[in-house]
């Protein structure tokens, strides 16, 4: 039976977890930038998660998620050997990767996972990749060693200065843009404010900047319009036209407002969930 959790690793306990899921058909087709829609159980909500990695031979995909609400909290209660009700994908347009020269990949928080898959794709395409990753503190950094294993240039920024540059990823980026001759593209994946800030930094340098929009999704196959966002004045659907877009054209204010849509119900769900017994008969 598919969708079994083969491996579960808490990267940052209680906060960020990685799972390797048995999904041969999806693994066969997955490319960097793709995502899946999954449901924990029959009563669950369909949520989108990026395919952080895939192993075509073993038929597995990896996901890395941040616990933010009911569904992701419930995912944290699943154990190795357990399974999801549904995993559907690979969805979305894969990242556009071509040999273009120097590419700077910026990842923040859980976004580092998705960024690392894309950075790998760029390295394989023969590009020089400079990765910048950031977090509040050293112990919240993800994927450092994985990234370093294929990417010779990894820069780190932490808010508290516990590792690498003390400050934001955007400051490191600014520095690179000022010193490097030719940067073909900047890819930014992370919290919305981070992606927005990256776009603000790259705009004066006129560097192509790609962001991955985490808008709210329902079906993930272009049927509902929940994920719509304004890009260059046009309404586009993140699930079928994206999720990656030209960051200089994205209406981030609208995206932020739309991400709050279901706040009340999300809180209600979470409150009920935290009151429930979560031992699942353990």
């Amino acid at each position: 039976m598919g969708y079994t959790i083969l491996k579960k690793e808490e990267l940052i306990p209680g906060q960020t977890t990685m799972m390797v899921i048995d999904a041969p058909q999806i693994a066969k087709k997955a490319k960097p930038g793709n995502f899946v829609m999954l449901r924990v159980s029959e009563h669950g909500e369909r949520i989108p998660l990026t395919i952080a990695d895939c192993d075509k031979e073993k038929g597995t995909i990896s996901i890395v998620y941040l616990v933010v609400g009911k569904t992701t909290a419930e995912m944290n209660t699943l154990r190795e050997g357990g399974r999801f009700a549904d995993v559907c994908g690979p969805l979305g347009r894969p990242t556009h990767i071509e040999k273009s020269g120097t590419v700077v990949c910026v990842g923040g928080g859980t976004g580092i996972a998705a960024m690392h898959h894309i950075a790998k794709g760029h390295v394989e395409a023969g590009n020089r990749v400079i990765a910048i990753i950031g977090a509040r503190s050293k112990n919240l950094l993800l994927f450092c060693s994985e990234l370093s294993s294929f990417c010779p240039e990894v820069r780190i920024a932490t808010d508290d200065g516990s590792e690498g540059h003390k400050g934001f990823v955007t400051e490191v980026l600014q520095d690179i843009l000022e010193t490097e001759d030719e940067v073909a593209e900047v890819v930014a994946i992370g919290p919305v404010p981070m992606m927005e800030a990256v776009c603000r930094v790259t705009l004066p340098f006129n560097v192509k900047t790609t962001v991955s929009l985490n808008s709210i999704m329902v079906d993930g196959i272009g049927m509902c319009g929940a994920c719509r966002c304004t890009v260059g004045g046009k309404t586009l659907f993140a699930c079928v036209d994206g999720p990656e877009f030209d960051g200089h054209k994205v209406d981030f204010a609208e995206l932020k407002a739309r991400l709050w849509q279901f706040k009340e119900q999300e809180e209600e769900s979470m409150e009920l969930f935290s009151k429930e017994c979560q031992c699942h008969g353990r």
């Binding site: 669950g44 559907c88 329902v218 049927m223 929940a226 304004t230 709050w260 769900s269």
Partner: protein, 471 residues
Amino acid sequence: MADRKQKKIRGRTPMPHQDPQVRAGNFEEVALGYSREQALIEAERCLQCKKPLCQEGCPVNIDIRWFIACLVDDDLEGAFNAIRRTNSLPAVCGRVCPQETQCEGRCILGKKHEPVAIGRLERYVADTYAARSACEEVTDLAACALEREDVRVACIGSGPSSLTVAGYLAGRGIKVDVFEALHEPGGVLIYGIPEFRLPKSVVARELDGLRQLGVTFHTNWVGGKTITVQDLLEQGYGAIFIGVGAGLPRFLGVPGENLVGVFSANEYLTRVNLGRAYAFPNYDTPAYRARRVAVIGAGNVAMDAARTALRMGAKEVSIVYRRSEDEMPARREEIEHAVEEGIRIRCLCGPLAFHGDNQGRLKAMTVQKMELGQPDESGRCSPVCLEGQTEQISCDMAIIAVGTRPNPILLEATPDLKLNKWGYVEADPETGETSMPNVFAGGDIVTGAATVISAMGAGRRAAREIAERLL
């Protein structure tokens, strides 16, 4: 004799309904169905015409006169078999077909009196007969083994068009695999049309029937992503049927349309139906809560969205439509039900802009007043703006139900598939074959948003052709 005549021009037997006040607060079925007595009384109204026009009006050509004659004789089995010969989803069609423009629209009695309630009779037959085993229902035989494991057909999408293909071919011993992108098969019957009009249990019964015939449903398989048409051909499927529907919602392109609180009908209905948001927080999918709801459009989709919003607790729901009530494309019955439930209809106005508060949440909508002008190419009077006449409507939720466009996922992944100028799949009207040999298509992805029965008609034509080629 005079007595007999008197009897025949009696009015239609009314359908028992849940009380409007009560049903506006629940998701249970609105129309309750005829009793045996009511069905017999209604069946007796049929004149048994020599040249039954009703049958010509039916897109799958059900022998209506015959099935009604069986009913009059109290031969339920005969009636069921007569319907099932050409229609594999009678319990669905009896509920959602626009009979007034099809069979009932042509019924001779309708010229002077009310037409025979053919749809209600069809529903009665299908529901009453369903007590039998599903396999018997379709083939009239006990559960049958597949005859031809080597002949395989794949359907992409699991709406009424694919279900018809699957039923027809499985009944002839062909192995059918249905690939559906969502986690539940059924297409619009599951994620679009709400429970109070088409209970999921009715759809589930039809799906079980197909399973018993050996049809396999593969959910979470996205055609063009998880598996491509090319893959399926390479895997040895003898024919492929594409029935992916017309998915992608249209928006109006007016300012403020992406404010929080503005939804497409597809999103709203999918949350409530597929995600079971009506049972939130028991189910996790949330639906937006609102007091004053405006639904833009006046087709079946708009009616369903409006009535769903009412059941989800809205205090005031209106339908905003740019033409007049006479032009509304929804089924009459659904409009009447909506009005009975307290939904307000505002005709001759169309949205100009949506306005939000400082948090980006919808709070009002400006509409342009219209009047009716000359008929356009659809034959309906076109709406003409009344310059300068606008009105503000306050609302905290707006649902846009103004149609769909072809969903790009499968089409983009299948570049050999020829599309027409509107972006829908080009298919031979007789056989359903596309520009790719042995790849067929039908339903909304060929015609644009249409009806359950027309999707089934297309499925039937394709299935007949496929069977002829493969057997």
